[in-house]
């Protein structure tokens, strides 16, 4: 399209690009998002959330390039990397820790913080039991894991004095997340979850650098640069396309995107026009602002309160009431807490 060389990829309709032009386009998109709002301060400690998947691997490489000594307009922050090891939940998981350590410590030389998903729990089986025995639906399991991971990332960031958390969420994933959240009653948080900088947490700001980049573009970039992502299993691997709300939504978005190539960007642009609702109170489960009244959001059930305290809330006093937002309240209905623990219910 621009330089008359042979094209190798089409990311937008009628815009074939050769390899060089595509890489320039891709990197330009990334760097302009980065420098657009002067997000990072000089010497600021920044935590990069690494999951092993294609997006976060590409993210790491791009940041590494940006931080390297001979980079054009070199980035000025200090990078840390966090990896949450979920392998205790899956019996056949390959030993992924070694690969992560190899990439981050040995090759990239960034401080690496690996935390197991059952970190800080009394018993290694608590989370596993919660997810597989007490939770009735795959949707609820996925959502619990998602909230737990976010909580752990915040904890690591605060512990390491990192004021920013960069995630590799790309536009396609965010659009799917938007629809899936709306289907679960989380409409109030959509405006926050697709923002470039998300200040829901007072201490750690989430930064989504890939929010305008499609998953196809990332896949192409990785292929052209031989960037390998780690094979990673998650809770919904190998389950059908109708097994959870997220998977169902993912199928819808991908099908529509095939027929109408502007679907993902339209969903994203629409959510960009929504106003953020930053009420001061936060949901104790998902950390986002409460969208229910005081009395409706109060959790009366002692078992579930205990659950949330244990898994999601390590800081506050155990006598404080627990508040949850509409979506989390709906989510908890799918969780049957331990039936033999007390005489309630």
């Amino acid at each position: 399209m621009s330089c008359d060389e042979d094209a190798c990829v089409i990311v937008r309709i009628a815009d074939p690009m050769c390899r060089k032009c595509f890489e320039e386009f891709f990197i330009h998109k990334f760097r302009s998002t980065l420098s657009k709002s002067n997000i990072f301060g000089r010497g600021e400690h920044v935590l990069i959330a690494y999951s092993g998947g294609p997006s976060s691997t590409a993210l790491l490489h791009l940041i590494a390039d940006g931080l390297s000594v001979n980079a054009r307009r070199r980035l000025q922050f200090q990078a840390h990397v966090a990896f949450i090891d979920e392998s205790s939940l899956y019996p056949d998981a390959i030993n992924i820790r070694e690969k992560v350590i190899d990439l981050i410590t040995n090759q990239l030389h960034y401080p690496l913080h690996i935390v197991s998903i059952d970190d800080n729990l009394d018993n290694d089986n608590t989370l596993k039991e919660l997810l597989f025995q007490q939770t009735k639906s795959l949707t609820a399991r996925e959502e619990l894991i998602r909230r737990r991971k976010l909580k752990l990332l915040f904890d690591i960031a605060i512990r390491e004095k990192c004021t920013k958390l960069i995630t590799g969420d790309n536009c396609t994933k965010l659009s799917t997340q938007i629809l899936s959240d709306i289907a679960q009653g989380k409409g109030a948080h959509v405006a926050l979850e697709c923002n470039l900088t998300d200040t829901t947490n007072d201490l750690v700001t989430i930064v989504r650098l890939f929010r305008e980049i499609m998953s196809k573009e990332i896949a192409m970039y990785n292929r052209l640069n031989s960037i390998e992502s780690l094979q990673n299993v998650d809770i919904s691997t190998m389950s059908g396309i109708q097994s959870s709300i997220f998977k169902l939504t993912e199928t819808l978005v991908n099908d529509l995107q095939r027929q109408f190539p502007s679907t993902v960007s339209t969903i994203f642009r629409t959510s960009d026009k929504l106003e953020k609702n930053l009420k001061p109170e936060r949901c104790d489960l998902c950390c986002y602002p409460l969208n229910l009244d005081e009395d409706q959001s109060l959790l009366p059930d002692q078992d579930r309160i205990k659950l949330i305290r244990q898994l999601f809330d390590t800081t506050s006093d155990s006598n404080d009431p627990v508040h949850v937002c509409y979506a989390c309240r709906r989510l908890l209905r799918d969780v049957q807490p331990n039936l033999q623990s007390n005489n309630q219910e």
Binding site: I182, A183, G187, Q242, I245, L248, T249, L256, T263, E275
Partner: protein, 357 residues
Amino acid sequence: MPSTICVSCRGERSAALVRPKTSEPYCKICFFQAFEREIHETIVKEQLFKPGETIAIAASGGKDSTVLAYVLKLLNERHSYGLNLVLLSIDEGITGYRDDSLETVKRNQQQYDLPLIILTYKELYGWSMDEIVKAVGRKNNCTFCGVFRRQALDRGAMKLSVNKIATGHNADDIAETILMNILRGDIARLKRCTSIITGDESDDNEVSVIPRCKPLKYAYEKEIVLYAFYKRLDYFSTECIYSPNAYRGNIRTYIKDLERLRPSSIIDIIHSGEQLIVKPTTKLPVQRICERCSYCSSMPICKACLLIEGLNKGIPKLGIGKTERYRKEMQQKQDQCCNDQSLCHCMKEKLTVTEQN
């Protein structure tokens, strides 16, 4: 072991169905009571009606409008709303679909003893849907039907001097509309579509529109079907023959799958939709009056007039999607293109228009 005792009357009667909204077993009587009570609570809480008002029920002969007519009449008497109810029906001119459903509406008029008025697209716009589909094809015809029907309802309502229009939109419809507006990027509609009553804020509009409300907003489609079935209400249940290719179909399937996974999803989507706030700095369309028909519009010429113009001129895609560009081109061309003696196609169009006038 599934319980077969109705959760509402606790064993007085055995359960006959599982309620889609709550997945609990109910007996018929308690289900009717719960269904009717919830609609009554919606009407009261949202203050939809005032005593003495005349309400036009948009009746198509389908399950939603039949149930709406039945329940409104019932609640009007039971709780003394003090309303005058009339049935308003629109004949789009779809052979094999609308003509049959209109027979149902006429029967409803007898059964519920309510006055009825029927308006047709042919008399209002000069085109029936069958003729439109022949000219436009099968993909974008729902746009025509929807735009024309909205205006037709308003015109019929003005003819009858009613205070409000009540439509049978149910929870599934609203959930679909919310998702569809997000997928289509229509932020203005997204803002309005969860309102249970629209057109009522006539203080900042110069043009007063007849307010319309959706009393069935929180009623699941499945429950409406169950209610109509058990009450043996007379309704017409075939899908419009032109609808299979509509975009909405994709979303409808998605919502049906969602409902199977988690029945409360439909209400959850509506809750999410109500929580969405549009940034005040977003550019939204301003309401003004159509230059040709004086109906309310966001453009100088309202969509209905534009669509009719397209149909009459033989360029049916006028007003659909990106052909706005084509329209502007056409207008420019007419001014600069050819002189009076020319046989160029632009002159032919000018001739056609003058002939029709």
